[in-house]
């Protein structure tokens, strides 16, 4: 329990630190946010008007606390370009991005865990090196390029086997469920295949370490075959490590997701953030960056808790050099 509290305090502290960094990044612009937003040729009155509208004429510390105060109340500000509240904008984008990440993760887990286990248990050297090759090449493909190749293969209109939509998301959103899902298939495959290849390597290395350990000897001595021991004992023992990897991978996925959303013209969080950045809608950018950072810090927090929960050794371990 003390660990949970300590880790939570750490999460809050990191969140505060990140908020200061993001706030500062937007304040050290040449000129200020208002003049950047108004554009190069804007008349001074327009800049001044923007400045007071956004409260930029107040002292920095006041600005920071009014921003943070808003965040605490769930008020993320209003986009100056569209006039809509940023939280509703983000919620709408999340309805694309979140399913995309989850689908991508499912694909990655299905590919990575299965192939990782099969590769670990394979005994023939040729089979082992074939799996090794697949894992290394799969993990080295740039997301952008992988997406393009899939479009060239399966994209409707362009692909050799044009069966799936490769551009856009239905206007009606998830109310037209079938086409919404169809439009996420290729993007999710792109993200999932690439991360699946990396996950396969981690699975093989984590499970391989366990398979060489005394735990597997003991399990086999009780009457398991090697394969049974791998599935029933090995995987469970590799789980804490894999959870950490998948957690980090989940966070790292957003990089690929931003590229993939832009490539497949999906109105998600990543593509939206890039658009807002391009449009210099900096108030929106500020809040969106913070929300993303908060999300990742939270995932890191959950992963650490889960890791602890899954490995009783850590709980009982006396404070020592080994950890």
């Amino acid at each position: 329990m003390r660990f949970v509290i300590r880790r939570f305090l750490l999460f809050v502290a990191a969140l505060l630190a990140i908020s200061v960094v993001i706030f500062a990044a937007l304040r050290i612009l040449p000129g200020d946010v208002a003049s950047v937003m108004a554009g190069l040729n804007a008349p001074p009155e327009r800049v001044a008007q923007l400045r007071s509208q956004m409260g930029l004429d107040r002292p920095l510390i006041v600005q920071y606390f009014s921003w943070m105060g808003g965040l605490l109340h769930g008020d993320f500000g209003t986009s100056l370009l569209t006039g809509r509240s940023i939280s509703s904008m983000v919620a709408m984008r999340a309805s694309v991005t979140f399913p995309l990440i989850v689908l991508g993760l499912v694909v990655a887990l299905a590919i990575g865990l299965t192939l990782g286990v099969v590769a670990t248990l394979a005994t023939r050297p040729a089979v082992r090196s074939a799996f090794h090759f697949v894992a290394i090449v799969g993990g080295a493909i740039p997301a952008l390029w992988g997406g393009l190749l899939l479009i060239l293969l399966f994209g409707r209109g362009t692909g050799l086997l044009g069966i799936l939509p490769s551009q856009g998301f239905p206007e009606a959103g998830w109310s037209s469920f079938g086409s919404a899902l169809a439009s996420l298939v290729l993007p999710a495959l792109t993200v999932g295949i690439i991360d699946g290849a990396s996950l396969m390597r981690y699975t093989r290395s984590a499970l391989g370490d366990v398979m060489n350990s005394g735990y597997i000897d003991q399990a086999m001595a009780c009457g398991y075959t090697r394969r049974q021991a791998a599935l029933k004992v090995g995987l469970r023992l590799a789980t804490p490590q894999l959870v950490s990897v998948v957690g980090l991978m989940f966070a790292g996925m957003i990089t690929g997701v931003m590229v993939i959303e832009s490539l497949f013209a999906l109105p998600g969080i990543g593509a939206g953030l890039i658009t807002d950045l391009g449009n210099r809608d900096l108030i929106a950018v500020q809040s969106e960056l913070f929300m993303l950072a908060a999300f990742f810090l939270f995932v890191g927090f959950l992963v650490d808790l889960l890791h602890r929960f899954l490995d009783p050794r850590l709980k009982h371990a006396v404070q020592g050099g080994a950890q």
């Binding site: 090449v137 950072a293 990742f296 890791h307």
Partner: protein
């Protein structure tokens, strides 16, 4: 993520492997300063480390995949250097009448949407990517080693704070750091380098920490401290050499991730600015026209994939080549 998170559990197997690894290093570091039983005095440290490098490179070369990695990496460096003085066509020789031209004697891989030579741009892109990869790795290495030193420091306030900070910040993806940086800095090579440096540096510190901790808690560190060695000298002479194999392997994997990051960030408009040749730039500019000219998009992606594969393979082979346990030749140097 290319990082190996192998060290996060308290697997005793691994701990014992690390300690054998460590004792090998103790043996070799002792051998460094004494006269060998045969009476032969060791050469100076400098000659010794270059010997070590030759041995490592030779054992990498002896393996098929190591040969592949070394050839690709050497080619990358060579092309980067050549591109500084010569490319088949000038980068800026655009020709509005010959856009998207097919490969020909003049344009080996055809031309792009402005009529510029694809091959020349890819050659010139090599040097930008090499520059980014090297600087990102240097930055990540420096940051990672500093953080690692702080994490195993005897000053408990410093070590606690740094452990906690690294644990929390590690979940912030590199792309997000790049976006935050891009707000004030705009699209620039520096954004990629700093973002990758921070992200990979944090990763490196976390991965190298167990080894560093083993060394820091060892008896020989305790004894050199008792002889009055400073914390800095212990870090330099005992902790760093022990963590070095892990650090080198991790950095070589990071170089690959940096090449991948360049292509993604450049496409998103926060990486290499337009007009500067890079593989990400070549990839991004051809994306819009894949329906019409799918072949031009093939080359930059293929190059990135091959180079990243080479860096990853290099890291894997290096892991075995640099470890005195798996590479007996190293012990004899």
């Amino acid at each position: 993520m290319t990082s190996k998170d192998e060290c996060s559990t308290t697997d005793t197997n691994q701990a014992s492997r690390e300690s054998t690894n460590m004792s090998q290093d103790i043996v070799s570091s002792v051998g460094n300063s004494v006269i060998q039983p045969s009476g032969k005095v060791f050469k100076s440290t400098k000659a010794r480390s270059s010997n070590k490098l030759t041995v490592v490179l030779r054992s990498i070369w002896q393996r098929g995949e190591g040969k592949f990695a070394l050839i690709v990496l050497a080619l990358w460096v060579a092309v980067s250097l050549v591109s500084l003085v010569w490319t088949p066509q000038s980068l800026w020789a655009t020709d509005g009448y010959h856009v998207w031209a097919k490969p020909s004697a003049a344009h080996w891989l055809g031309t792009d949407g402005t009529g510029a030579d694809v091959f020349s741009w890819l050659m010139a892109g090599a040097r930008t990517n090499l520059f980014i990869a090297i600087l990102a790795v240097v930055f990540a290495g420096a940051l990672g080693i500093l953080l690692m030193g702080a994490m195993v420091s005897r000053n408990s306030a410093l070590s606690n704070v740094s452990v906690v900070a690294v644990d929390a910040l590690i979940s912030i993806p590199t792309a997000l750091i790049a976006l935050i940086l891009a707000v004030p800095m705009g699209a620039s090579v520096a954004v990629i380098i700093i973002a990758c440096g921070i992200g990979y540096g944090l990763n490196l510190a976390r991965i190298a920490r167990p080894q560093a901790l083993l060394a820091a808690n060892s008896d020989y560190v305790a004894s050199s401290l008792s002889y009055g060695a400073s914390g800095f000298s212990v870090m330099l002479h005992h902790i760093l050499p022990n963590a070095m194999p892990t650090i080198m392997v991790q950095l070589s994997l990071s170089a690959g991730t940096a090449v991948l990051a360049e292509s993604g960030l450049t496409y998103l408009g926060v990486g290499v600015p337009s007009g500067v040749p890079s593989w990400g730039h070549s990839l991004a500019t051809s994306v819009k026209f894949i329906n019409v000219y799918p072949l031009t998009v093939l080359w930059p992606g293929l190059i990135v994939t091959v180079v990243v594969v080479a860096l990853n393979v290099f890291g894997d082979v290096l892991r075995d080549a640099i470890d005195p346990v798996t590479n007996p030749e190293l012990r004899e140097v």
